[in-house]
Structure formats: C-alpha cells, structure tokens
Amino acid sequence: MEQKHITAISLISILIGLATLYFTLPEKFEQTDIKIKGTIQSVEEKEKFTIISFKTKDVLHAITFDKTKVQKGDEIEIYGRLQEYNRKVEIIADKIVKK
C-alpha cells in the first residue's frame, strides 16, 4: 500500500460518506429528552393544544397536545424535547407531572 493508495481510500471514504449523507440526512436530528422543573405562571388553552408558561430561572413555554389539569401556581416537572419556534426555545411536552 503506497501513499497514492491511502489517498484513494480516503477519497472513496469521503465520496461514500457524502452519498450516504445526501440520501439519509434528516431535516432535524431527533433531540435528547429533557426533564425540567418549574412553577406555572399561566395556562392558555388553544383549540388543539395548550401553552403552559412556567418559571425556572427564566420563564419558558411548554406546548402539550394532551388534555392537562394543571393550573397557575402548580409545581410541575416536564419531560419532553426542546424546539425552536419564532426564534424562541420552547418545550414540546411528552409528559407533565404535578409535584
């Protein structure tokens, strides 16, 4: 194996990587679940989802597509994923636990 062979293997590796990436690159990476604790500031029910504003260090917004019985002042723990919407980070809640 000479230097030219190593270069050839490297270039083939790059090309295979590019081709695989072209066909498989997802729009977004599936993000790691997060768990966050806070106190509810407000609950706003929309037609298909509910927006919960809650306070940790900062005020964050969580979106849930399930029916929820939480209300202002409740201490909650939210499990979900982070999502960027209108240049703000919000949490898509999979599960909300009242503490």
Binding site: M1, S10, L11, G17, L18, T24, F29, Q31, T32, E84
Partner: protein, 387 residues
C-alpha cells in the same frame, strides 16, 4: 446539506490543527461549542468532526512534540524518531486511524449486537481484569531485579495518579501524561545527549494485510474495553498487541485505530447500553438521541471526516517535519520542555509545574532502569481499581 458539509469540512480541518496543540482536547472544545447555541445538528456534527480529526493529528503531537494523549502514550513514536522515521510513525498511525474508522463503521451492525452481550458478561469482572493487566505488565519484565523495580514504578505511578486525579487541578490528565511520558523522555534526551537525526520524508510501503489485522485488533479490543467503565484506549491496545503479537510499526497502526474507533463504538454503546466512554460522544448525547437515523448520519459524517483528516494530517506532517528539520533538533527537547511547563502553569497555576516535576521524576526512573513504559499506565489503572 451544504451547511452540514461545510461544518464537517471546517470541523475536520480545525480538529487536525488543534490536535497538534497540547491541551486543546475535544472535551474542552465541546463545552465551548455547546455554549455557542448552534442548531443541534450543527453542534453534534462540529463536535464529532473536531473530535475524530484530532485523533489523526495527535500522531504529530506525540511523535514530534513528545506530548502523548491517553491513547498515544505507548506509541513507539520516539524510537522511530531516533531512527529518523518520525514521518513513517505518523503515516502508519494515520493509516491505522483511517482503517479503524472504516472497519468500525463497516462492522457496526455486528458491534451493535455484541456490545450488550459483552457488557452483561464482563461488567462484574472489570477490576479483576485491571489487576490482571498490572500483574502481566510487571511480570513481562525479564529479570527479577527489573520486576521489583517495575512493581515500585507501578505503585509510585498509581499513587501519583490517585493524588492528581482526585485533586482540584484543571487538566489533570494532560499534566500527568505529559510528565510521565513526555517531559521525562525529553529530559532523558537532554541528559544523555540523544541525537535525533534528520527525519526522512520517504514514501514507505505499508502492508494492507498487517494494517487491517492491527486495526481489526484495535476495534475488537476496544469493543471489550469501551463498555467496561474506566478502561481506556491504552489498556485496550495492550490486549491485541499481546494476543496477535503485533509489534513496532503495526502497533503504531493499532494505536491509531483505537482512537478513532472509540468514537464509532461509543455511538453504538450509547444506543445499546446507554453509556458512552468517549467524552465528546457523551456531550453529543446531551443534545441528540442515538436513533438509527441520527447514527447513520453521524457515521456518514465519520467517513467524510476520516478521509479529510487522513489527507490533511499527512500533508501537515510533511510541512512540520520540513520545518523541524531546519532547526537544531538538539534544542527541540529543551524548547518543548519549557513550553510544556508554561502550558502547565497557565492551565493549573503552581500545581501544574509541581505535578509535572513529580511525573517527570517517575518517568525518568522508568527510563533509567530500562523498564517498559507501559508500567506507568498504573497512574490510570490503580485509581479505577480503588474507586
């Protein structure tokens, strides 16, 4: 797609450059990148690119600048440098790193099923395996006197490791390994006036079969060691080198394969046993899930990074060797020693030079008694056993 490719290319080149600089470890850079609030995909690809690429150019750091990392500490680079074969050492390491990436990705479906099985079988025996490794290292010395000295060095390095790793010092691994393996070697060169000849940049032929066997050995030993808590790349290198009788130049390829395959196997273990020994992969896991789709993307990026890093590191190593050939090589050990002590002082204050002086003394003892430097790896092994 363009943005992702640009991220991979720039990350790979940046990784090769920072891989040469002592102390610029990916774990440190990954935390900085994490705080830059890029999109999760860009963050993950950037950390992966820099991390994998650094593993290629660490060969230059270890060979020319004498500052090894946990993966390259036992690389026979210094011996090859003394024979004027520094470029050859770097080239073999880089080929091993390339093959390690390609093999680990190719056999990833097998690794996926094997990791969980091996983890369940071996997790109870970690400490016993580590104790056996220390015993083998000591008994490997030829004479009874050397065995006694190896025992003393192993204990000293172990105590040194316990103190340094449990201290509040920043960058403890860098200080410990640079002194045990780096500054001690540099001081030894100065004391004994070891002449480093001009390094030849010759295109040596590499055996495809030997490199493949060495890289395969690296990947499979890493498969066992990476799922056991605390066993690192260097310990991983010891197993196949003994079993497959891999020596000298092939051993350099084996060590190269371990650094890069560690990334691929850590991504797999993250998916199967929810553990990643590799620090950069552990940081990536805090932002993205190890789903099949994400893993395929990371592996595709891995193929591109390996290709770019191979070509870039080889070109860069030629340039660096041409420069170092022009300066007086006898002055280089003194320059490097001063530089390492300054870096230690910047990173860790007065603790830095204090740790480095102690490590240098233990390293010098190993060299003057003619012992294998692998005995010094107890600095990492004993703290794990006692943990």
């Amino acid at each position: 797609m363009i943005l992702e490719i640009l991220t991979i290319i720039s990350g790979s080149i940046f990784g090769v450059i920072t891989g040469i600089a002592p102390g610029m470890h990916i774990n440190l850079l990954a935390i900085l990148i994490l705080n830059m609030n890029f999109d999760s995909k860009i963050t993950a690809l950037l950390i992966l690119s820099i991390g994998i690429a650094q593993n290629f150019s660490e060969a230059i750091q270890t060979t020319i600048f004498n500052t090894p990392t946990p993966e390259t500490a036992l690389m026979p680079a210094q011996q090859m440098l003394k024979e004027g074969k520094g470029y050859c050492a770097i080239q073999k390491f880089v080929i091993g790193a390339l093959f390690g990436t390609l093999i680990a990705i190719m056999i990833s479906p097998i690794l996926y099923f094997a990791t969980k099985m091996i983890y369940d079988t071996l997790k109870e025996f970690t400490k016993l395996l580590l104790a056996a490794i220390i015993a083998i290292l000591i008994l490997k010395e030829k004479t009874a006197q050397k065995k006694i000295w190896a025992f003393i060095v192993a204990i000293l390095a172990g105590i040194f490791g316990i103190i340094v790793l449990n201290s509040a010092t920043k960058q403890p691994l860098f200080l410990m390994l640079s002194s045990l393996f780096g500054t001690s070697n540099l001081l030894n060169s100065l004391i004994n006036r070891i002449k480093i000849p001009e390094q030849k940049i010759t295109e040596e032929k590499n055996s495809f079969t030997k490199t493949t066997i060495a890289s395969l050995g690296g990947v499979f030993s890493l498969l066992i060691t990476s799922i056991l808590p605390g066993i690192g790349g260097t310990q991983a290198a010891m197993l196949p080198s003994k079993i497959l009788r891999i020596k000298n130049e092939s051993y350099t390829a084996l060590i190269g394969s371990i650094g890069t395959a560690d990334f691929i196997i850590s991504i797999i273990t993250l998916a199967t046993i929810h553990k990643a020994r590799n620090g950069a992969v552990a940081i990536i896991s805090t932002i993205i899930k190890p789903t099949t789709s994400n893993i395929i993307t990371l592996f595709s990026a891995g193929l591109i990074i390996a290709g770019i890093a191979t070509i870039t590191t080889i070109i860069l190593s030629k340039k660096i060797i041409q420069i170092t050939n022009k300066i007086d090589y006898q002055k280089l050990p003194a320059i490097m020693m001063i530089l390492l002590f300054i870096i230690g002082l910047i990173f860790s204050g007065i603790n830095g030079p204090a740790i480095m002086i102690t490590g240098t003394a233990i390293g010098i003892l190993t060299l003057t008694k003619g012992l294998h430097r692998s005995n010094l790896m107890t600095c990492l092994i004993i703290p794990i056993i006692l943990n």
